[in-house]
């Protein structure tokens, strides 16, 4: 069975999408030269500068232009080296892309895919490390994915490119070298379907993105103590697969949400809210969150290391609900 790294899986999805339809175009700063951490490597050689186009340092315009191109029948993929840069594009995302389908009374379709890398580690600092999936998930009308594995990175990207809804895909840089068996053919993973990564009956860990490998490692460790952790990978935060979470918690009656973002007003908060609405009285213990502190990311290595929750933080969160 063939394995690919996360970055290679993204790269393969883009290549296959460019192959599948002439309407697909990849736009972004340096997509033709930097390779965007391997994810666009070799594409320009294969498909040419017309299909894989460098874009000026105008994130705001690139996003509007992507929408204008989609209205004219294209399926653009917009690439950002860091999510922090695309904050310049909040107007097109919030005021145009997200509301357009409603405002056009369902007449317009906008297959715009925004791929954005989230930095982590090596002193990325507060302006190169933000993961704003919670912001984007708050908006009606956009799909938001935070793939944790190579397999999902490929399938969700293809689903987005060939879907009809504007989509933001957040790829954490620290996952790029992780390998997984990835089917060679192009395939899709629907939005709104969580993956059950590990089955267990004692506690549910609903994890997202970089928290998934941590949750799995800790679950393995706890299995040695006969504590069986059910690890859910939410995969997409909008739409959110509430059913899978509810089914799992109905069984385990204990919940930990591991969300790689600031704690307050987060996706983690939303998960606990909807679980409480449906199962509040059935819970055997108070649910808890494993998140980043409500602070921007510090640069200095020791501070940065303690900013991000690690295996120990996960372990203690799980123990606290047992």
């Amino acid at each position: 069975m063939r394995t690919l790294t996360y970055a290679q899986a993204v790269n393969e999805a883009l290549a296959q999408a460019l192959e599948l339809s002439e309407d697909v175009v990849v736009l972004g700063q340096l997509v033709d030269t930097s390779g965007v951490f391997g994810t666009t490597k070799g594409l320009v050689e294969k498909f040419g500068k017309k299909r894989v186009q460098d874009f000026p340092v105008s994130e705001n315009l690139m996003t509007s232009a992507g929408m204008g191109a989609a209205l004219a029948g294209m399926r653009p993929v917009l690439v950002h080296h860091r999510l922090d840069f695309m904050v310049y594009a909040m107007d097109p995302i919030v005021n145009w892309l997200s509301l357009w389908r409603l405002k056009s009374n369902g007449q317009s379709r906008l297959p715009v895919t925004i791929r954005t890398v989230v930095g982590k580690g090596w002193g990325q600092g507060p302006q190169h490390s933000k993961s704003l999936h919670g912001w984007f998930a708050h908006l009606p009308g956009v799909n938001v994915a935070v793939p944790a594995t190579a397999h999902d990175a490929k399938g969700l990207l293809l689903e987005s490119i060939f879907g009809e809804t504007p989509t933001i895909i957040l790829e954490n840089r620290s996952l790029f070298s992780m390998e997984e068996v990835v089917p060679e053919n192009p395939y899709r993973i629907p939005f709104g379907q969580a993956a059950i990564r590990r089955r267990g009956q004692h506690v549910t860990v609903a994890a997202l993105g970089i928290m998934v490998p941590i949750a799995l490692r800790v679950a393995k460790q706890l299995a040695e103590e006969s504590i069986e952790v059910e690890v859910l990978d939410l995969r997409t935060v909008s739409p959110l697969d509430r059913d899978t979470v509810l089914k799992s918690v109905a069984k385990t009656k204990r919940l930990v949400v591991a969300d790689p973002a600031w704690r307050s007003v987060s996706v983690a908060a939303e998960v606990i809210a909807f679980v409480s609405e449906k199962l509040g009285r059935d819970l055997a213990s108070n649910p808890t969150r494993v998140c980043f502190p409500d602070s921007h990311t510090p640069m200095s290595a020791p501070l940065e290391a303690s900013f991000y929750p690690d295996d120990a933080a996960m372990l203690s969160a799980i123990r606290s609900v047992l």
Binding site: L20, F55, P56, S58, N60, L61, S64, A65, M67, G68, A69, A70, L71, A72, D91, N95, W96, L99, R101, K103, S104, N105, G106, Q107, S108, R109, G119, W122, P140, G141, T149, H151, D152, G155, L158, E159, F162, G163, E164, T165, R173, S174, L175, F176, S177, M178, E179, E180, V181, P183, P186, Y187, R188, I189, P190, A195, I196, I210, V212, K220
Partner: protein, 372 residues
Amino acid sequence: METITHAAIRQSGRYSRLKIEGLSMELLRGLYRGMVRLRRCEEALMVQYRVADEIRCPVHFTIGQEAVPAALGLLLRKDDFLYSHHRCHGYFLAKDAPMGALFAELFGRTTGANGGLAGSQEISMPSHNFFSGAILSGALSLAAGSAFAFQYKGDDRVALAGFGEAATEEGIFWEALSYASVRKLPLVYICENNLYSMYSAQVNRQPADDLSKRVQAFGVRTFTLFGNDPVAAYEALREAIEYARKGGGPCFLEFYTYRINAHVGPESDDYINYRPADEIEFWKSNDPIALFEERLDHAGLLGRSERELIVAEIDEEIDEAFQFARNSPMPADVDLEALSRSCESPFAERHLPLSSVGDFDETQPVAVLAPY
């Protein structure tokens, strides 16, 4: 070339350069009809706005600014894209979108261009390739993207955007200009410089009122015109659209004009005293329809009775548009959440198999970041 600015226009007095000699009757009639249709339409909406409180959304009327949309309406192809801003009725009609769909939209009815979900300032009609939105400068940047798509596909279509001079105060305007210039996009920007952003004069907001000069620095072809001359507007727009269509690159047209009505709504806002009375009077005396009628009379073309016939025809269309709006149902039981996001992916369904969960190995180390 002489410089045209608001100040220069005021200085040179009432406009006297409208030339209709040598133009076809069809063109003269088209320009006249386009201007009067927009004027009557706006006046009728203003009258009806409060009567039975049936129009419950902000409306930015465009009395005095009819020349440009009327000229544009004669030049656009159905497959060209036209984007517009909050003051969009003229552009909506210029794109040949039906008046009934406009009125019904203002009335919030299901038969409105957007089923009553958008209203006046955000109305779109995808079937007519017309799109607008009320966030300043957003739509003009979308137009750049459509122009990109036309060029990419090798179509000879043009993307256009109509907006006010304040839209150029947003950074994205300059981002779009720069990009359109470097890529030679088939893009035409139509700036109706009416001197005001709500109650603020241009010179309070911008270093000078000759936007075109600044735009030229981006390598974009510019046209600077008195905006109440429909013939000059027609000729400049025709040249710009042809230029963009043939691959010459983007054009920027600046039309100096004036909004006679309030910024928003049917009542006057001149009680705020944001513009001098003699300035309003000057522009009233340069009314584009009156200027045009004067020339027609002078040349003995399109006489009074013919014009009355055109007006009668337009008034009938307006009556029908009101009836259409009033007789249409209000929306009910709309599943707003379902409408907000498309859950269907027909293309993906046709071309891609589903895959559910991979086989992730949890024992792997995470990537260690290297220098950027």
